[in-house]
Subunit: 280 residues, 3 copies
């Protein structure tokens, strides 16, 4: 696929979401839950967040897409996440996994391990998180990946996006979906094609939930396109909205408000001008 | 009561809250909990949020008003909500119910059913939620309401405010309090009088928690006036602050900040100019 | 120590955090969790929030500092907080306690009582909270303190900063750390020296989480300096950023965004001009 063809599909996804106001429910962390919902609304989607097992299952049955973020686990998640993911898988609902903080605590590891069989349509994370998922799922050449990865620090990446490419491709091949790595430049892959996306803002890493909300927005675009285009669309929206919002801000506080504005306002012409590079 | 008489009472409630800084504690959902608190503070009130049963009971005994929102249930809510609502009822503390997501999951249905006997002073919701409460509590002509309601989608309404008027009146007659329906235009009723309120902003449905925070602000006004005037005051504040904030914003992000500003700044003259229609 | 010497250390702490991007994880309340994280990021730190016992323990072992805020307790906190605090104490990790809502509910009292032996490096609270901790821990002349304190109302102080000075000193002497009292003017003490800090904004008490986020920021500065300087640095940052942000805002909504901007932008020259008074 050419760059122009890709960007046309991205524009179509943006337009369709703005017209259809699709719902993508979430089980997500409490730090950034408000920002995830507001970003989903800003791009034209609808949000609904729950914690309980039967509520997750119910929303899985009525939705085309779902967002799961393991950032702040509660005890009930031991039930809620496997039951919801199982239902999502059975119903063919496309779901997005954000493996925030992978490596912290026993339950997190156990849950992400269980999720392997329920194949998320998109996994979004920073480089360290994507490498950690590939390792945990036994998908990458672990020796090589081990050697390269410096591991996460809390919820921050210590690895570069490029170092996680192999892990990302392995995951996407396994799930049949896509993987999006956030970093200075971003990488989106469906296991074959890799798209490097440029743009964004120095302020994005300075607002909590930039990554989580990107995941939530990917899940919104999953309602109108395939996982790869959905991940690419959200990534490009973030890069272009981030670039414009930075010019209109003096710090991370005003940036956050402006960024939501630009997600809402972003025009097709900005999307068509975005800088991406395709590696087959 | 004439429009002028009503608006004078609204102005008095606004003024009293700004002077008295009254506390209205909450058990509310984690998506919008921050925005609820900030809106309560912006109008001049004070906020305190808890999750545990004995904490809810304790705050029920020291407060004039309380806000309960069932948006994101946790397992402990099975105890916290009935115990808190019982205490609120016994102590004659006026409480506001926001039946967010009614219909999702077993616990939510069970809890809202239990709340019937503890008679919330105000129920605030969108049209689908108000219809669903009336049905669940056996208060409306179910056949007619069933026929009309398309049901909620996640946390969004699929029904029009006008379609929920009968349900709202039936609830208010039962509780002896008031019901506020949020929508394009809003409706506030005490079971007899219905007031249609105009204004607001296209951005209000684009920020998560516009409805929840309205409920939280109703509970603040319940500390200084009766349920009907409290619901009306909060609704008018939202409509007028929303209108002004929209003129000063370019998108939902800057709108959210500006909206809190305008709740804080709104003047009596704006309230007196608000457009409402009274139906007896 | 002279005022100039103190402020030089404050400037050094600010600079070091901006250069080192240190992590201070939290177990904190869900009302203000997003604002805590954003404030920690704005000053140059990194945030990670968890709820589960083994996750708290794990982060305690990999971090130099930790923030604990008891604002919205969940049942699991009965395990999470003692286990995390024990680990923090054993590993010599400096931790900051925010005793929000002390006096509400049984679990809160029990947990704060348990924390006594794990000696937080800094306790930050309003006057009523600091007095309540001193009483609960049996550290102050209870009769005198009892007489003076009017007690908290929900999460608000009803006491003046000056009235809590004795309690603050007693706590700092016991812990060997520092205590910071937030109010119209703020007080920071290491048990011997008391520094009164001026500045801030009328809007700070109108945004939820002004205090919580201050505690989170204290914990960031604890990674690069001793508890007293850390508490002083965060307090001065808040006073100066608050002052500037207020001039650029029209209400609490825009203030909140501007305030984060100013935390990020604040210059050494502003810190050196801040008004403080030292009492030995």
């Amino acid at each position: 696929m050419t760059k122009d063809e890709l960007l046309k599909q991205v524009c179509k996804a943006v337009k369709n979401v703005r017209e259809q106001n699709p719902l993508a429910p979430s089980i997500t962390n409490s730090v950034t839950i408000n920002f995830v919902a507001n970003a989903q609304l800003a791009v034209g989607g609808s949000a609904a967040m729950v914690y309980l097992p039967d509520e997750g299952e119910f929303l899985a049955t009525i939705s085309k897409s779902f967002y799961i973020n393991v950032g702040t686990l509660l005890p009930i998640y031991e039930e809620s996440l496997p039951r919801t993911c199982k239902m999502l898988h059975e119903k063919g609902c496309q779901w997005v996994l954000d493996p925030v903080g992978i490596g912290i605590g026993e339950l997190r590891t156990k849950l992400i391990l269980q999720m392997k069989e329920y194949k998320p349509a998109v996994i979004r994370g920073n480089a360290s998180e994507i490498i950690a998922v590939a390792k945990l799922w036994g998908l990458a050449d672990c020796d090589e990946v081990n050697e390269k990865s410096k591991g996460a620090r809390g919820v921050d990446s210590t690895d570069e996006v490029e170092d996680a490419k192999k892990a990302a491709k392995a995951i996407a091949v396994y799930t049949g979906g896509a993987v999006a790595i956030s970093g200075k430049n971003d990488l989106v892959t469906d296991g074959k094609m890799c798209v490097i996306c440029y743009g964004g803002s120095v302020f994005l890493p300075m607002i909590t939930g930039a990554g989580c909300s990107l995941g939530g927005v990917v899940s919104i675009y999953c309602t109108v396109s395939n996982p790869f285009i959905a991940a690419l669309t959200a990534t490009i929206m973030y890069n272009e909205a981030g670039k414009i919002a930075e010019r209109k801000s003096v710090g991370p506080g005003t940036f956050q408000a402006r960024f939501l504005d630009e997600l809402y306002l972003l025009k097709e012409k900005n999307i068509l001008k975005t800088r991406i590079e395709i590696e087959e």
